[in-house]
């Protein structure tokens, strides 16, 4: 096989193994799990055999004459045929003297095979292939089944030897079916000397149609043999043709073709098993994705609802913060008036009331009110920034988290429930918390100043401030004129003027606050939208591994379903026959198709 093909196979096998592991946690029936493992292992073993000698195993029911056949092929008695069933217990390996079979023989069940050596020659039947006389496939010695199974797994070609009573025998047919299309098959009917010509034809025909139907066999002829006669006469009927086929099987070109056929057969069976399970898997994935989408919607929506409720409650705080912020930017009496909270107003009012009797006390009251107001606004800012108070309590959070995640886990299969990367509740909660805190600090550091900048426009500022300045100027001019003229303005005049200015500023402040209230509403909406977007991101990240896992599984199934087609396109060479028709209900699963 060309090196590029070998490389291709090595890569494909790595991918196939990875895909197999990815799909292990899916809800396959136990027998499908086992079958997939067997097929993947078998492919790997096939790949490792590339470049080595051809291995042919004689299989068949007890009494078919396998040992006699090997003896007749070799030309001397190396295997022990017998009358008492089952005869062969120890496999006999007939191998060329230069072949290293130790690795091949390792870990075989049953008694260790006996190895007989020969010197290969390019011309005769024995050109370097390894031939094994295996135990039966149908006797009461059930331990033989495991031995012949292991031998067949390590072979390239199965030489099936049947006799009159075993052609349609169920246990042998089942055994061969498990290797259908994964091994080259040479079919032979033994004990030919005991059959009339008509019976030979009929039995050969029976075996042929069975092999075509159940094993996907594509050979040309069923050999009818009598190994006993062949021991005497190598030219006996059917024998030379049989030897020629065994010889040709071991030839490099033909062997490569058989191995390609075997690999494609195994790949095809994997594809079939996976394709058969695919509709059910698709249904399950769909359900899982639906539940994931639902959870992705539900959980953040619930948290957001809770946060929104708290935001609505704090809207007045936000309004105050916005007034303060605008006031800070508004240099002038209007700004001062805007920042003045309820406390300041009360304090200033008390100051004004006291001013006529005790100006000092009045100033003190005003200053105290200002300090209190300052402290209040700081408290307010801190309460908005602190994130803890914005989210539900841990107990409530756990309830929501469980309520959202439980349907997703219910939709997953039992194995998947343990294997899948579920997001952790604590981490998710921390992420949500961070999202809220980030949005709030963005609000305080950027959005609130920005809104304030836009809100306090200079026409408004001048409209409020200019009359105050003008009034103040007039008071000063009036006081100065009074001073020079000796007619001092009285304390009452000044207090009244201050009250008048205060009243004007109060009016301006009320108008400005009204105007700013709608802006505060917009701020709440902004922060809500921002939290929502962040929540969606958090959910995406948290459920990302799960989504990726789903995608990987889907891709693996897709690749495995297309395994045979991919390999065929890459491996097939001109001269290989057309793709086999695979019926939907293929020959790999034990079927009870009528045979008549």
């Amino acid at each position: 096989m060309a090196s590029e093909k070998i490389e291709f196979l090595a890569e494909e096998m790595d991918r196939l193994r990875t895909d197999r592991e990815t799909l292990r946690s899916l809800p396959w029936p136990a027998e499908v799990q086992g079958e997939l493992d067997r097929l993947v292992e078998d492919l790997e073993a096939q790949r490792l055999r590339v470049g080595r000698a051809a291995v042919l195993t004689l299989v068949g029911s007890t009494g078919a004459g396998k040992s006699t056949l090997l003896n007749a092929l070799v030309g001397k008695a190396i295997a022990e045929p017998g009358e008492s069933r089952p005869t062969t217990r120890q496999p006999v390996v007939y191998a060329p003297e230069d072949a290293d079979v130790s690795e091949w023989l390792a870990d075989l069940p049953g008694p260790a095979p006996r190895v007989e050596r020969y010197r290969p020659s390019a011309l005769g039947t024995w050109s370097g292939q390894i031939v094994i006389d295996a135990p039966d496939t149908n006797s009461v010695e059930t331990s033989h089944r495991a031995v012949v199974q292991a031998l067949a797994e390590r072979s390239d070609v199965l030489v099936v030897l049947a006799h009159r009573q075993s052609v349609v025998e169920e246990s042998t047919v089942r055994f061969l079916e498990s290797f259908a299309q994964m091994r080259g098959l040479v079919l032979a009917l033994g004990h030919g000397d005991r059959l009339s010509a008509a019976n030979r034809r009929e039995l050969a025909q029976q075996l042929e149609s069975l092999a075509r139907e159940r094993f996907g066999w594509r050979g040309e002829r069923v050999h009818v043999l009598s190994p006993l006669e062949a021991l005497e006469d190598p030219q006996s009927q059917g024998w030379p043709e049989f030897c020629a086929e065994l010889h040709s099987v071991a030839q490099a070109g033909q062997l490569r073709r058989i191995r390609r056929y075997n690999a494609l057969g195994s790949a095809g069976r994997i594809a079939q098993w996976v394709a058969r399970a695919r509709p059910q898997l698709d249904g399950q994935w769909e359900a899982l994705e639906r539940e994931v989408a639902q959870a992705t919607r539900d959980l953040p929506a619930r948290v957001l609802e809770e946060v929104s409720r708290r935001l609505d409650l704090r809207q007045s705080d936000l309004e105050t913060l916005l007034w303060d912020e605008v006031g800070r930017r508004w240099i002038g009496p209007g700004g001062l008036a805007l920042r003045a909270g309820g406390m300041t107003s009360l304090g200033l009012g008390a100051g004004a009331w006291l001013a006529r009797r005790n100006p000092l006390l009045a100033a003190g009251a005003a200053a105290g009110a200002l300090v209190t107001s300052k402290w209040q606004s700081r408290q307010r800012e801190q309460s908005v920034r602190g994130g803890e108070a914005w989210l539900p309590s841990p107990g409530e959070w756990t309830r929501w988290y469980e309520a959202a995640l439980a349907p997703v886990r219910l939709a997953a299969s039992t194995a998947e429930r343990e294997a899948a990367p579920w997001p952790s509740g604590e981490e998710l909660q921390a992420e949500f918390q961070a999202a809220v805190e980030d949005a709030l600090s963005d609000l305080m550091d950027r959005e609130l100043p920005g809104q304030a900048e836009q809100a306090a426009r200079s026409p408004l500022r001048w409209a409020v401030d200019l009359p105050v300045y003008a009034f103040a100027l007039w008071i000063i001019v009036r006081s100065a004129i009074g001073f020079y003229e000796g007619a001092y303005v009285g304390m009452d005049f000044l207090v009244n003027a201050a009250l008048l200015a205060g009243a004007w500023l109060w009016l301006g402040r009320t108008v400005a606050r009204r105007w700013l209230r709608s802006r505060a509403g917009r701020l709440v909406q902004w922060v809500r939208a921002r939290i929502e977007a962040r929540f969606a991101q958090v959910m995406d990240v948290a459920l990302g591994p799960l989504q990726r896992r789903l995608t990987e599984q889907r891709e693996a199934v897709h690749r495995m379903c297309r395994l045979e087609a991919t390999w065929r396109a890459k491996l097939e060479e001109p001269g290989d026959s057309a793709p086999r028709d695979r019926v939907a209900n293929g020959s790999d699963a034990p079927s009870s198709a009528p045979l008549s």
Partner: protein, 592 residues
């Protein structure tokens, strides 16, 4: 066998056993169970309950593919009736031969008389029920014998194994035909071992023997594999004439490694004692029925215990959840009211007057605050509505997690072992059913009957008992009054003081005070009374919740786990019990 000899009547309990077994066949949960019951049913109906034991002894030709069953059959009837070919597989259906086909019990076989052509019976017989049997009348076959040729049981040919198996249940004496190739086939041994172990008699025919000595040795090995000796061993050497159908196959007796002159036919007609064989066959059949039914019953019981376990686990889980819902929404109102009512009914003029005054004050306060509050807010919900709402809030977020836990607990408790049950469970607890489950539970909740009266009466009883035990009744009375009056008073004061502006605060503080006071009260009363009330409420409300949850969460699997009616299978258990003494060794006697 003498037809005039009265044969033992069919015991009546077998008839009722059969009725019972037949009814169970359709209810078998899996293929293995169904096969066991079907076999027991077939043996009972077609063998043990039939009336023609006096007239017919069934000889069944059984063996692997192409062993020569039909050749032996043809040799016995003396003509080429059954198609026999060297390539095998010619016999596809049962074929019978006897001298008096009319006497065959229809329960055993639906006899269809056929007449052979020059090539034997070659018509393609349409596959019918196992009871359907084409029979050829052959005067040559002696009176009690009914010879039946069968297809093989070890090939992939469709229907062959089933036809052979169906014949087993009515066979009195099996004629097992094997060859030197197939005498150690696993399929041969496995097919017959079970049947032979029950004590069924058989005759071994070793065909295509290489020599008498090897044939004897091989027959010995096969008998050892079966664990049962044959009545007699016959054999025939390999003969090409026979193999190609040009000469009849006439097996000869094989004894001590030598051929004897006696042929199978002669031995059957002359040496065999049909009555003895029949008695043994009958006992073996009874033993087989016993064994099949015991196997079935063992599986049935283990499945039954698993079913009970799953039912228990589901009940436990749902009950816990139902009680949790009920407890979380327990109303305190009825307890307080009960106290008030009990105290109101206490004797004594002073006390009565004091109570009346208090009651008047309390009601007045409440009316006032409600009037003011009602003008500003929507009318508060009634108590049952509040309870329903609280229950729903306790249920809703826990619904999906409960489903998940339920599924996991049931699967790990054993539902995963049973394919049908785990499938039902998966579909019952599929997340896609959540909206439907919610809807159903909501409907149940809305239409639930109110059981306040019962709870109130119970609370009154509790309070009565509590009061009887206590000495400081006045203290109790004051506490109850406070709990009742304080919240309303505070609320009314707030509402009146603020001119209706602080209604929110009033209602809120009323609720807070009320629950605080009730808590104080219940602490004062000691945990017992409160606990008893809580338990009562959980029972009263938990029971309907448990039922709703069962129906909503486990509609299919819950129905599958409902305890079955034991009268349907009790006769089988009784019969097995009565006959268990003899079941160990084969040879069950009919129970009278």
């Amino acid at each position: 066998m003498d037809p005039s000899e009265p044969h033992p009547p069919v015991p009546p309990n077998l008839e009722s056993l059969w009725v019972c077994v037949e009814a169970r066949v359709a209810k078998a949960p899996n293929e293995t169970q169904r096969a066991r019951l079907r076999e027991a049913e077939a043996i009972l109906r077609r063998d043990l309950l039939t009336q023609d034991h006096a007239t017919h002894l069934v000889l069944g030709m059984l063996g692997p593919n192409n062993a020569g069953k039909s050749a032996v059959f043809n040799g016995l009837v003396g003509q080429n009736l059954s198609p026999s070919r060297a390539t095998g597989g010619a016999t596809r259906q049962l074929l019978g031969a006897c001298s008096q086909p009319d006497a065959i019990d229809r329960r055993r076989f639906q006899v269809r008389l056929v007449s052979p052509g020059p090539q034997g019976v070659t018509e393609v017989l349409s596959p019918g029920p196992p009871e359907s049997l084409p029979v050829v009348a052959v005067p040559h076959v002696q009176a009690p014998f009914l010879l039946i040729d069968a297809p093989d049981f070890d090939s992939v040919m469709e229907g062959h194994a089933q036809a052979a198996r169906d014949l087993l249940w009515v066979t009195d004496l099996a004629v097992l035909v094997v060859t030197r190739h197939s005498y150690q086939n696993l399929a041969v041994v496995e097919f017959l071992r079970d049947w032979l172990r029950a004590g069924h008699p058989y005759v071994l025919v070793y065909n295509e023997a290489a020599s008498a000595a090897t044939a004897s040795a091989h027959a010995e090995v096969l008998q050892q594999s079966f664990g049962q000796p044959a009545e007699a061993v016959f054999g025939a050497p390999w003969d090409e004439e026979v193999a190609n159908g040009r000469a009849p196959l006439l097996p000869r007796l094989l004894e001590a490694g030598h051929w004897r002159e006696e042929t199978l036919g002669a031995w059957l007609w002359q040496q065999l004692q049909p009555a003895a064989i029949q008695a043994r066959a009958r006992e073996a059949s009874l033993a087989t029925v016993h064994q099949r039914l015991s196997d079935w019953y063992r599986d049935f019981q283990s499945r039954e215990s698993l079913r009970g376990k799953l039912h228990g686990v589901a009940t436990q889980e749902l009950e816990a959840f139902a009680h949790e819902i009920a407890r979380s929404a327990m109303p305190m109102g009825p307890i307080l009211d009960a106290f008030r009512r009990v105290l109101d009914q206490r004797p004594g003029v002073w006390r009565q007057g004091y109570r009346k005054g208090l009651r008047w004050a309390g009601e007045g306060m409440q009316r006032l605050s409600r009037k003011l509050a009602g003008s500003l807010r929507p009318v508060p919900k009634s108590a049952p509505e509040q309870v329903r709402e609280a229950e729903w809030q306790a249920l809703e977020p826990k619904l999906a997690p409960t489903m998940e836990r339920l599924q996991q607990r049931l699967l790990s408790a054993g539902a995963a072992q049973d394919e049908l049950w785990s499938k039902l469970l998966q579909s019952d607890l599929a997340p896609s059913r959540l909206p439907a489950i919610r809807e159903q539970l909501q409907r149940d909740l809305e239409t639930s009957p109110e059981s306040w009266q019962e709870f109130s009466t119970y609370c009154e009883g509790l309070v009565e008992a509590e009061m009887a035990d206590r000495n400081n009744e006045w203290l109790l009375q004051i506490m109850v009054d406070l709990a009742h009056l304080l919240p309303a008073t505070v609320a009314a004061v707030i509402v009146v003081q603020t001119g209706g502006l602080m209604t929110d605060v009033a209602v809120g503080s009323m609720g807070a005070l009320s629950s605080m006071a009730t808590e104080r009260l219940s602490k004062f009363l000691g945990t017992q009374t409160a606990q008893a009330a809580r338990v009562k409420w959980a029972q009263m409300r938990g029971e309907p919740w448990r039922q709703w949850l069962w129906q909503a969460l486990l509609p299919e699997s819950g129905a599958a786990w409902a305890p079955p009616d034991s009268s349907q299978w009790a006769p089988i258990a009784t019969w097995l019990d009565q006959n268990s003494a003899q079941a160990g060794s084969h040879g069950i006697r009919e129970s009278s």
